[in-house]
Assembly symmetry: C2
Homo-oligomer: 398 residues x 2
Amino acid sequence: MEYKFSDRISALQPSIIREILKGTGGTDIIPFAAGNPAAESFPVNEMSQIAAELFASSPAAALQYGITEGYPVLREQTRIRMQEKYSVGNDDIDDTLIVSGGQQGIELAAKVLCNEGDTVICESPSFIGALNAFRSYNLNLKGVDLENDGMDLDKLEAILKNDSKVKLLYVISTFQNPSGVTTSLEKRKALLELADKYDFIIIEDSPYFELRYSGDYVPPIKALDKNGRVIFAGSYSKVLAPGIRMGFATAPKPIASKMTVAKQVSDVHTNQFFQMLVSEFLKKHSIDAHIDSIKNLYRVKRDRMMDAVKAYFPEEITVNRPDGGLFLWCMMPKGYDSAAFCKTLAPYKVAAVPGAAFVIDQSEISSGIRLNFSLPTLEQIDRGIASLAEAAKCFIRK
Amino acid sequence: MEYKFSDRISALQPSIIREILKGTGGTDIIPFAAGNPAAESFPVNEMSQIAAELFASSPAAALQYGITEGYPVLREQTRIRMQEKYSVGNDDIDDTLIVSGGQQGIELAAKVLCNEGDTVICESPSFIGALNAFRSYNLNLKGVDLENDGMDLDKLEAILKNDSKVKLLYVISTFQNPSGVTTSLEKRKALLELADKYDFIIIEDSPYFELRYSGDYVPPIKALDKNGRVIFAGSYSKVLAPGIRMGFATAPKPIASKMTVAKQVSDVHTNQFFQMLVSEFLKKHSIDAHIDSIKNLYRVKRDRMMDAVKAYFPEEITVNRPDGGLFLWCMMPKGYDSAAFCKTLAPYKVAAVPGAAFVIDQSEISSGIRLNFSLPTLEQIDRGIASLAEAAKCFIRK
């Protein structure tokens, strides 16, 4: 039988990254493709103990239906921490929701704010999960080239002047995925001014901002938001564990209220047991100390991968050293198609994500390669980068 | 600041039921409003032991990112159980996905199959969570009156003849929410014939079908589906626990594939830890025996509520005895507005859901009242029904 799908979905393909992962999981392939945290960063003992306590003390609450906005204690803990530590959120105009991973915050924001055919401006390149969420509502994506300090503002304003259908600007402000770029304070302020001038909402996706290994802290755009222009999509995936699907969104109250209605028809509420577990973790342990331990782990891995890249990679490939996050972003010489390159990697027992996964216009050819350093071991980093270098020499110089 | 929301969302209100629950939770009000399972039905000891084992043996897998389609072992266990026990699903044409509660299966199906303005036919009355999911995609809902054995087929075919935009028919085939009606085998077959004749897809929502306390088993519509016309939305909420948000969808492969893409942009995957926990539960324990124990618990509660209703309710209110599920559906005399009645209940310390929550046309006045018997204790049932009867006499005879 032939099925007819909705216009919004019929052309949408699964994430290239997740397809690569399905093909390379559970094998002897060195995993530079994933965006996975290191398993040794999960606070397993603490979580295990809290889980046992929850089953003993409050199983009825932890296994029963909860409210859509989130477990009230966790909402409040999240709100207070984000507000006191990062000035994200505001008692008066903002509200914090618990969502099933940062991704859900982005998808709900798109659903409640955009009609089909509206425009979303994105950094180019950008995170495929968000791009596909926008595509799944038939939105019109327009990419703005990334410079070393964020979007090219001239190109951005050129779009804004000519497109009255811009509803959203999507930005991964700190340690951008895949480029590693952090938007400067000046450009953050400029984005807010443009949001006021051209009347759009900013989705600030910030799953990595607490994982800084070098350089100076830059406040979130949301911390500078005086007029209720910013939705902050936050995540516990990279600082606790991703498999529990736990994130949050801090948004102007009217937007948070509509996102709640949209979440209600999607998954009713986020897993109640793990909302309570994360809440107890935040009560009993220092998440800041835990994040420090993750940073110490990943800083070493980043440095090791940078060293290996310098030692092994052919000079034709350029790499920027990121100040945080999970990824190195490499560029092959202009004109080389990294998607074709990544397909040659299987015999080298290494997996990487081609830039094609992150382009806004899906017909565009990319010479970028994203390498994850959080998941592989130091030994895998050395061996994998050496293999990748061999493959690259072969591909570039053949 | 004034925000402009998408057309699909701007008129959508939160579920009346969930708003009632927010207002009546944690108090001394007798809970007939919820659709919550009894906490004593949760297999707490078994889950607690499995959780401890998972943290000890495979924390890296249980806390790490998983694949969107679901934990492969749980998918396969679910598929095999549904196929062998209920003939739901088929190796060749169907696929089974794990979703974050049965609700998500319904929402994803609507998203991938319907364009804005398409028609969804629903039973009238029907489950607000599904109705709101359809409304959240700007779909056109058309209700078909329920008879004692399912939809009025003449009225259904009258709609089908005159509306070429019907893409979906949504049916809660067994122990319908709120009416308790089970669609007869004859009508199930007729729905499939109409689906072929008028080219639409059936969403069969069946969260309660294993909770039968009397009467004869009727096979799911999906078990009769030879042509790939049916999406079965299943749930572990009522047979294990709802707070873990664990459901499944069995759908023709091309539809399941698009639903996977849509799920990927929504929550990436369902909580991995609890997917593995449910999988271990199914391996180590008999879910059939567990369901039998729930049925024994709820059968007594249903009978107790029916007895109390007969003893206390004024004769003007009619009630059908449901053969399963979680609800009694009561009708006040025609013309009485049960929404106004339910607002009088606070001093009586009892909460119920007015039929207005389940109407297709939101301007319609309903005289129905839904009463849940799974959550309250036997003592609460006696006391609550007596109070409700007092309130009803007052309201009807004043």
